[in-house]
Symmetry: C2
Subunit: 132 residues, 2 copies
């Protein structure tokens, strides 16, 4: 049983135009056509859901493509791919830390802030980032 572009769209939350675009840039494989129309396999939905998760975290399409194309199929997973993955994991961990800082600031503003001045209370949450 195959799925129309509309069905895939509603299952994944992507617009049909987005699915065509993703195909055009090679992010998803080109599905068979049945009388001109795309006939997706169910597995396409799984791939797209990973893409949706990655996009929700603002992974660029090139990055997602690399992530998915280098997928460790049974054996492989190149050193290059593994290194890239470690980088991605580190970046996500840093991002999680940033979210916690931002949540700290927003909750402070929402609940009990009496600083009166942004500068006064902001430094608590914007401390750090002394590298390079």
């Amino acid at each position: 049983m195959s799925l129309s572009i509309g069905e895939v769209a509603s299952r994944t939350g992507f617009a049909p135009s987005t699915l065509r675009y993703y195909e055009s840039v090679g992010l998803v494989p080109s599905p068979n056509r049945v009388s001109g129309r795309r006939a997706y396999e169910e597995t396409a939905v799984d791939r797209l859901q990973v893409i949706a998760l990655a996009r929700s975290l603002d992974f660029p399409l090139d990055d997602i493509r690399e992530l998915l194309d280098g997928f460790p199929t049974a054996t492989s997973a190149s050193a290059r791919w593994r290194a890239a993955n470690r980088t991605r994991i580190a970046a996500l961990e840093a991002q999680a830390a940033d979210i916690e800082r931002m949540l700290g600031l927003l909750r402070h503003l929402a609940e009990d802030c009496e600083c009166g001045d942004l500068a006064a209370c902001a430094r608590v949450w914007t401390a750090r980032r002394e590298d390079a």
Copy 2:
């Protein structure tokens, strides 16, 4: 003591062109000019560091402006601003959850994945999102 655009740039990590752009769109107030040049106060750096944090989380500029402009100055903080803030907090919490799911997937791929097929192991981390 005031800061040149170059000093503010190196303290905040923004390019000078970005600082000018932020000023042009009203995200940061227009600093005094001393013989034509911008002379920033130190507090501008604090504001910009909050902006840097928000931008690192891909907050749109309009959102950041609203966040900063509605800052609870001693007394205020409109109901509208408070509501927007609750929304932002919820969005960040959801984003943190997405990061955890993605980290779960990436670590699985990096360490012990023997699924061989993306679809096979992806469903564990792409489950959820059954709303509306």
